[in-house]
């Protein structure tokens, strides 16, 4: 092959390679069209705005803390760190917490003297949905039958028994303790909740009792940190 011919061929194969790669790239990641209508866009916008506010608040808190670190010297620094640790522990749910809130009673709809109590059961899916709904309604902390719910709480059914935090939950009736800044509104929302209807389908009824002082237990098991790793500052 002459040198000039080889160069021409190389140029041509280079172009072909480039075209091939573009074709791969195009067929592999087809560009998704934005098909949201005006309502969805507004909803998304509202969501983002809320997130924006949350992030702003977080930023404010953190910068205040930073300011505190900077201004306080020596022992005071340790105090500030201890305070931060306490705050974080509180956030993680490993401390007892009291405050105004609501106690939700879940019990059978009919007189249990006629039917065996073990006949009634709450499925894991139902409980998960209920907790999601409670969070939606503004619950800040939740404990199901004395088991504190944290971000990584497992809710499962094992041998037809409901387990929360790997502890068995007592059969129906049981209580759910909820801390919330507006207990009365919260109770009203629970009364008309979707989960209330779902529970009714299982023959159960949920009632909300507003309390000035509700005490939530701490989350006692170890929090698994197996899959956590530190993030570098610049990433």
């Amino acid at each position: 092959m002459k040198k000039r011919h080889a160069l021409t061929m190389t140029l041509v194969t280079l172009i072909i390679g480039f075209m091939l790669a573009i074709q791969f790239e195009t067929t592999r990641n087809p560009q998704k069209r934005d098909t949201r209508d005006i309502w969805q866009l507004q909803e998304d916008l509202a969501k983002e705005e809320k997130r924006h506010i949350e992030l702003n608040n977080e930023f404010k808190e953190t910068s205040q803390l930073l300011q505190k670190y900077k201004t306080e010297q020596g022992n005071q620094k340790i105090m500030a760190m201890k305070e931060a640790l306490k705050e974080l522990k509180e956030k993680a749910g490993v401390t007892e917490k009291t405050g105004q809130g609501v106690i939700l009673h879940i019990r059978p709809m009919v007189d249990t003297s006629l039917i065996e109590e073990s006949y009634y059961s709450v499925s894991a899916i139902l409980l998960r949905r209920l907790i999601n709904e409670l969070n939606q309604y503004g619950a800040s902390e939740i404990a199901v039958s004395g088991e504190r719910i944290i971000n990584t709480t497992p809710i499962r059914v094992v041998q037809k028994k409901l387990f929360v935090n790997d502890h068995m939950i007592s059969d129906v009736p049981f209580n759910i303790h909820v801390l919330t800044p507006r207990p009365k509104d919260f109770a009203k929302r629970v009364d008309v909740s979707q989960s209330g209807e779902d529970l009714a389908r299982e023959g159960l009824v949920i009632t909300a009792e507003v309390k000035k002082l509700v005490k939530l237990p701490a989350y006692t098991p170890n929090i698994g940190l197996n899959y956590l790793h530190t993030v570098k500052e610049d990433s």
Partner: protein, 114 residues
């Protein structure tokens, strides 16, 4: 022999690492153009083996075939006839022919050597 393959690999790398993609509507045109390009390339290799290679014919054929294929596909879309199938068929048949000839010539050369 190795230079064109190196060119292909470099082209692939450039394309893949720039993450450049075209709108999905034009993907059809590109695929047909790619087929035409492959056809011309194999035609060039065949001509090389048969000692009838002409650089000018090869280069013009390459660009002309690509353009023709894309135009055919474009026309097809606008006329409502799947004209690109004609290009796929024509280039497909030629591709196989060229590969068959390349194989035969190479086999013949190999036999001679042995």
């Amino acid at each position: 022999m190795w230079l064109p393959i190196l060119g292909l690999i470099i082209g692939l790398f450039i394309g893949l690492f720039t993450h450049y993609s075209i709108p999905e509507v034009y993907a059809n045109y590109l695929s047909i153009a790619l087929l035409a390009a492959f056809d011309t390339l194999l035609g060039g290799v065949r001509a090389q083996l048969q000692d009838t290679y002409d650089n000018f014919v090869f280069v013009t054929g390459f660009f002309f075939n690509i353009a023709l294929a894309a135009v055919l596909a474009f026309l097809g879309v606008h006329l409502g006839v799947d004209l690109y199938l004609a290009a796929v068929f024509a280039f497909g048949v030629r591709l196989f022919n060229n590969i068959a000839i390349i194989r035969r010539v190479m086999l013949a050369k190999w036999k001679k050597k042995a």
